[in-house]
Symmetry: C2
Subunit: 203 residues, 2 copies
DNA sequence: GGGTACATGTAATCAGTTACATGATTTA
DNA sequence: TAAATCATGTAACTGATTACATGTACCC
């Protein structure tokens, strides 16, 4: 029953089954969408396939409803819990993957026409500002920006997960603001003018 | 000659061929390793496969050496340049993928023994500090931390690409410091004591 | 000249993604 | 009761990752 070679997806599912109790794939989907899914996409098909795989190696069990939707409900087994804990205690040095298509574009923006950098930066700035605003509306984030002492509720842990994402978005906004300003300055010095909506940038 | 449905990998290769001129897959590999590869992994097998694919749809051409290593050299075609420029001008709203295994662990740390949070945070703090230090040693980053005006050299663009990564690592360090402090406080209040190497944390 | 690191490539596997397809529940 | 949306699942595909395999250049 090799618990080796489990993927991040495996631990995601194991973790959710451990914390939330028995779940249908749809339950998993919703939990993920509300938390990690904001910055680490797990297409729903994955969350239907992965529990099946876990069941096949004994880390979960599967039961199916007789009537109605005939949903499949998955439950973590002792072996599953054990695998999860073992993973939690194992130091993890896999590097963060930061896959940002906007960054890829700006990286090659010198291969395009002169206003390319400016166009990309403006777009990305909008994207990241919107995302940051969306995070801020999620009430789950509201309170504990300072260090929270004492016992931690589930909600606090969820917000804990998102805190990093918020920090990333803040960095991203700052970064794209910088790039935008640079691009404007460059355009100005090259063409002797300033884009019309320059004022909007600083707002 | 549908230039549709090209992946990030495709544009990475097109962009490098456009900027660097004809390249072997190994050339691509080295360029990537020195830049984007720091935070977005592209296994070398990809960089051997992708140019072939591009050649098959007319966005690059392939020539092979007669003698010696019989390397394959790829050159971007006009169609390839066109596809690249079209992509640069197309607004891109695909979200950033932030796949951080450490974050996944901390997200589920309440499923492990009590010191789990502390252990994970310490590990991740070390990882991200090391990465940040490594970035700082790369001379390519040294100078222009402020906004750089005037014309931009290739080196500046490279550093531009990495600047975001540096900001991310800074955020990560701050985040994991926070988590570490939280964990220490929690352990202390729960067990009435403080881990021995607490002092090292603040250093 | 033997070892080591660099360089080049392919093949097989596997995970992630897209697309398809349909049933169940709610709401107008 | 029809439409819309929520929910459930599978199949096919494609791209990413791992593993294998080998050759070349350099260094001791």
């Amino acid at each position: 029953m090799s618990t080796d070679q489990l993927s991040s997806t495996s631990y995601l599912v194991l973790g959710l089954l451990a914390r939330e109790g028995p779940c249908t794939p749809y339950d998993l989907k919703r939990h993920v969408a509300a938390t990690l899914g904001h910055f680490w996409s797990f297409p729903h098909a994955l969350l239907y396939a992965e529990p099946t795989r876990l069941a096949s190696i004994g880390l979960a069990t599967e039961t199916q409803e007789e009537r109605g939707r005939r949903r499949r409900v998955f439950t973590i087994t002792d072996a599953g819990s054990h695998a999860l804990r073992a993973w939690l205690e194992r130091p993890n040095r896999e590097p963060t993957e930061l896959r940002d298509p906007g960054l890829l574009q700006i990286f090659f923006s010198d291969m395009g026409p002169s206003q390319t950098q400016w166009t990309i930066a403006r777009e990305q700035l909008a994207v990241h500002r919107a995302k940051l605003a969306a995070y801020m509306k999620d009430e789950v984030l509201g309170s504990g920006t300072g260090s929270a002492f004492g016992q931690r509720t589930l909600e606090q842990w969820l917000s804990h997960g998102l805190r990093m994402a918020v920090m990333y978005e803040r960095s991203a906004v700052a970064f794209w603001e910088d790039v935008t300003v640079d691009a404007v300055a460059e355009e100005a010095s090259a063409a002797g003018g300033v884009p019309e909506d320059y004022g909007k940038l600083i707002a």
